[in-house]
Amino acid sequence: MRDTQLDTELEDLLPELRWRTWIGRIEAVLFASSKPVSREALQKVVGQAASVDVLIEDLRLDLAGRAFEITSVADAWIMRTRKQYADAIRAAADLGDQGVAFTEYEMAVLATIAYHQPISRAELKEVFGKDINRDLIGRLYAKDLIATGPRSPKRGAPYTYVTTQGFLLAFDLHSLRDLPDMEMLEDAGLVGEDAG
């Protein structure tokens, strides 16, 4: 790859225009990327002393009233359409299987992985009382919601599953810390005692 020298400091511009240009660059990078873009990556297109956080805040103000917004996920940002336009997008385009649509059962398996990770297929079976379909696990992989975790200390050292950054993004969580509190769920009678 050619090393293109991007002028990040923009010293020949007036401060106001320089700031606008940096905001524009961040907007362009986020628009062009389908995945969250890290702070590190964004810092590469703006001046060394410029704060990515402040630039993002200004960009958010610019986007007030527009159909898309900037969301942060685990120290990275992504531009996406606002929730209220979901129906419109669905009506206009047949999104088919691309979207992250779940059956209740898939959702239950995913939630179990999120709370009990790392968890193996055998342990999932204990929770659900039946074998978890490999296709279902495969779909969660394909949607980039789960990944392979440490081996389980069982015969054959089976894989365990853990959740990914894509999982956080899909459910609007900044980190796993934002999962609803287990104790709260227990108090509400939504989950049973810890299986492990």
Binding site: Q117, G149, P153, V162, D178, D194
Partner: protein, 324 residues
């Protein structure tokens, strides 16, 4: 074919004890809390400084093992703060059973963060980038400024090391209210730095509760004194225990005839747990000395038989061994 192990030669070792006046219950006023945290840190300081070269009657503290084990406890406490329930055993499994390329999961990652913190060498120039590697990018970006603020407060207003650490916890929590682990990691680094220790020791991370983290600055300082007292006393007791066990392990080391046994013993004196199939075989971790899986298993069995190492999991496979 097995011969009974000969009675162990035990050299009495002197370990600075925790006097009764630091462990008994005092009234919970800020004055007593401050007194106790200072006294407890002073005793831990003596344990950590490890003057065994000057006084051969003192055992040598396996410092890295102590820090790793405290890191494990801190990881467990921080996962709890995040609403997770991973036990020490779960965390060990996540960390030691992961193979290259596997995702560690939240428990293993939390342990890695605390291990990385305890491995920071404070007199080296790269301590700040290393600390940044233990926290999220967001926290990392603010750290230089916060460190300056913490130190200003310390020097300008005569704040004690605990007060400086408390200030750091407060700054992280104010800006990132959901990053308790980062707050405690940074707090423990500031504490060690203010005390002039060569490496951070997880102390605040073991005992600070969520309610204290969200309390007013004054209440937080008091909670930090309490947490420091408990953490430092835990570290002293664990330090004594590990020093005695390490001494016994060193004493039996010459009896082991397996090739590479010295290096294996050295590994046990650093690591919280050893998984023979990956850490002793095919090569002893950190060395180029080869060992077969079978030899590794036999060595671990022999160490258990000699009573210097324990199997930590109670499983029949994927066993983890450690000084305990």
């Amino acid at each position: 074919m097995k011969k009974a192990a000969p009675p162990m030669e035990t050299h009495p070792i002197y370990l600075p004890p925790l006097p009764g006046w630091v462990t008994q219950n005092h009234s919970k006023t800020s004055e007593t809390e401050q007194f106790l945290s200072g006294a407890s840190l002073a005793i831990l300081h003596v344990v950590l400084v490890n003057p065994s070269d000057a006084l051969p009657s003192q055992g040598t503290l396996p410092a890295e093992l102590l820090r790793n084990r405290l890191a494990l406890r801190a990881a467990e406490a921080c996962l709890k703060l995040e609403g997770r329930r991973d036990s020490e055993a779960d965390i060990r499994d996540a960390y030691y059973l992961a193979r290259a390329g596997d995702d560690l999961g939240p428990a293993g990652e939390m342990y890695v963060r605390w291990r990385k913190l305890s491995a920071v060498v404070l007199k080296r120039k790269d301590w700040l980038p290393r600390l940044k590697g233990c926290v999220s990018e967001g926290v990392a970006q603010e750290l230089p400024e916060w460190i300056d603020t913490t130190m200003d407060q310390g020097a300008g207003q005569g704040g004690s090391p605990v007060a400086q650490a408390s200030k750091m916890v407060e700054l992280v929590m104010a800006a990132f209210p959901r990053e308790e682990a980062a707050a405690l990691i940074c707090g423990d680094l500031i504490l060690a730095r203010a005390l002039g220790w060569s490496q951070p020791v997880p102390l605040l991370g073991l005992h600070l509760k969520r309610r204290a983290l969200l309390a007013s600055p004054d209440e937080l300082v008091l909670a930090c004194h309490q947490a420091t007292t408990s953490g430092a006393q835990d570290a002293v007791r664990l330090g004594h225990d590990l020093t005695r066990r390490a001494q016994r392990l060193r004493e039996v080391a010459p009896k082991l005839r397996a090739k590479g046994s010295d290096q294996a013993v050295a590994l046990f004196l650093r690591e919280d747990a050893v998984l023979p199939s990956t850490m002793l075989a095919p090569r002893i971790q950190g060395t180029s000395i080869p060992m077969t899986s079978r030899a590794a298993r036999r060595l671990c069995d022999r160490l258990v038989e000699l009573g210097v190492v324990r199997e930590l999991t109670g499983r029949s496979t994927f066993r983890l061994y450690g000084v305990a």
